[in-house]
């Protein structure tokens, strides 16, 4: 389904701000699989999702989706196959446009947008039915600007928008991180429902080990721009939060040894 083949990305190469964000990353994701991506801050999780979504073109490597090489495709071209929800609730919706206009935009994801009327009455009925199960009272507020809604409501709508037309691949980047725990739980419930219903192939970055343990069928752990661990099947099912904590500690200890060795070498030889 999705094949990430030896991709690398360096930001600001050749400057003092140079960051190697991805180093020779390879992952293959099967159709219908739900992958949780874990990792410390700055380990390259978002960069990996952005690479797949086409926010930038990777320096090296190849990305294929359903055997189509999309490595050089623009972001808007890949959007035909990919639905996205971002960490920032402000990122996924157009604040000054109404809820129904936002939804209408999503109903055309990756399709030609001609001079047909943007908001036909038939769609509005459909939208009412779409937002009603959210239990947020939005069905009566479809004409309100979406910017007036809370972060949780906006993330829930962004999720609906990303999946309104079934995407081949759903990318979720810490989409509950900016929400309070109660709202986050609600959005995660919704996420699970949506993914189950359409059997969506999903990559979900999360900071919550609880989520990673509870959800999905695979856990990929990133560290310093590389895939450090990859658990699936029975192994993934057996993983507990404590196991994940141990793995994080291990990675941290390795880092410390590396820096200790480096400073020792520096002290002795420089």
């Amino acid at each position: 389904m999705l094949k990430i083949n030896h991709i690398s990305k360096t930001f600001n190469p050749g400057t003092v701000n140079e960051v190697v964000a991805l180093q020779d990353v390879s992952i293959e994701i099967e159709e219908g699989s739900f992958v949780c991506v874990l990792g410390t801050n700055g380990s390259g999780k978002s960069t990996m999702l952005n690479a797949v979504a086409g926010s930038f073109i990777v320096d090296e490597g190849i990305i294929t989706l359903d055997h189509i090489d999309i490595t050089k495709w623009g972001e808007h071209e890949r959007a035909k196959f990919i639905g996205r929800v971002f960490q920032n609730p402000f990122s996924g919706t157009a604040p000054n446009m109404s809820i129904q206009e936002n939804l209408a935009l999503a109903m055309k994801r990756g399709k030609n947008r001609g001079i047909g009327w943007g908001l036909p009455a038939s769609l509005i009925h459909e939208f009412r039915a779409m937002v009603k199960p959210l239990n947020m009272g939005l069905e009566d507020r479809l004409e309100n600007p979406i910017g007036k809604l809370s972060g949780g409501q906006r993330q829930a709508l962004t999720l609906l928008m990303a999946t309104a037309l079934k995407p081949k691949l759903l990318l979720l980047d810490e989409h509950t991180a900016a929400l309070d725990p109660k709202t986050a739980a609600k959005v995660i419930d919704l996420t699970q429902q949506v993914i189950m219903k359409d059997k969506l192939t999903t990559m979900m970055v999360t900071h919550s080990m609880q989520q990673a343990v509870n959800l999905g069928d695979r856990i990929v752990m990133m560290h310093k721009g590389k895939v450090a661990y990859d658990f699936r099947g029975e192994e993934k099912k057996r993983l507990k939060i404590n196991d994940l904590l141990t793995l994080f500690d291990e990675l941290r200890r390795k880092d410390n040894i590396d820096t200790a060795v480096a400073s020792m070498l520096a002290d002795n030889y420089v």
């Binding site: 623009g74 972001e75 959007a79 402000f90 990122s91 446009m97 001079i115 009327w117 908001l119 990303a162």
Partner: protein, 312 residues
């Protein structure tokens, strides 16, 4: 009274400019100074075509296309070469100055002896109600011809407003508005935002060039300087419109831009009549826009400090 009618007519013509500025500034949040060049470009194109004997309606349409081309160039410079919007606009505006001189072959081109769109309307008035016909409105005597010109401009503007409103409600127009509102979001929904910006700037400058073309025909000449200050003028109209119509849905903002343009023109005409030095017009327009831009922030701070005092 005929001063008011004349000013309203010019206000309606300049409403096309305000609509152009509305597209760049409000829809795309793109401070597009190409306007200053494309306004003259429209005037120069229409004027020289009319002098060359081209049908004035066709000449106006070509002026519209010329403005679109100029806007598209600004859009391309910005999106393809990553040049900041202001600088992209300045580059095209500067280049257009030379282009305009070439188009006209001189810095001023009179149209008084030519047949323009407005000559047609005057002839229509002539055949309808006779030469120098006058009528009484609210106790003032006015030329019937002036009323015809006003009506014509009014109908043209209504036509363009409805078309523009319809366009921004279509699928492509909605995507354009979303590009200005949240480009990251609409890219993730499959829209080529760079293309949207290019088309949007083209549309904006098409309107602005048409305003120039119409004004040149109305006042009877095109001048290479006539675009100076037009961007701020258009912005002032949009701001006034937003102040009188406090609703930011597309239809109302379009309506507001037109009302703002007419009102602003009337205010200026009255101020000039009261003895405002025409040389001071631009500084006053600039001051006006400056104040309109900082006023909301000032009011907010006042309210905040008031609250703080109340809490203390």
């Amino acid at each position: 009274m005929s001063l008011l009618i004349g000013s309203t007519t010019i206000g309606l013509i300049l409403a096309l400019l305000a609509l152009g500025i509305f597209i760049s500034f409000r829809i795309f949040d793109f401070p597009d100074i190409t306007a200053e060049g494309s306004f003259t470009f429209g005037a120069a194109t229409a004027a020289s075509l009319i002098v060359a004997g081209v049908n004035p309606l066709l000449a106006s349409f070509i002026a519209f296309l010329a403005g679109m081309a100029a806007g598209a160039v600004t859009g391309i410079i910005h999106t393809r070469f990553n040049i900041n919007p202001l600088l992209a606009g300045i580059l095209v505006m500067t280049a257009l100055y030379s282009v305009n001189l070439h188009v006209m072959g001189k810095s001023n081109m009179p149209l008084l002896s030519e047949t323009t769109v407005f000559t047609w309307i005057e002839n229509l008035s002539l055949s309808w109600s006779g030469a120098d016909a006058r009528t009484i409105i609210l106790g003032w005597e006015v030329a019937v011809k002036d009323l015809w010109l006003l009506l014509f401009c009014f109908l043209v503007i209504v036509g363009f407003c409805i078309t523009l409103w319809w366009f921004f409600k279509t699928n492509i127009g909605t995507a354009m508005r979303a590009t200005g509102d949240n480009d990251q979001m609409i890219r993730a929904l499959g829209v080529n935002t760079k293309l949207m910006i290019i088309v949007g700037m083209a549309l904006s400058n098409g309107f602005i060039a048409l305003a120039g073309a119409m004004l040149a025909q109305y006042q009877g000449f095109a001048d290479v300087q006539m675009g100076i200050g037009m961007m701020v003028w258009g912005l002032a109209s949009v701001i006034i419109g937003e102040a009188i119509i406090n609703d930011n849905s597309v239809g109302f903002v379009i309506l507001g831009a037109v009302l703002g343009s007419v009102l602003f023109r009337l205010l200026v005409a009255i101020a000039l009549r009261w003895g405002l030095n025409p040389n001071d017009l631009k500084i006053i327009t600039a001051l006006f826009v400056f104040i309109a831009l900082i006023l909301p922030g000032l009011l907010k701070n006042k309210k905040l400090s008031f609250k703080r005092k109340a809490n203390a």
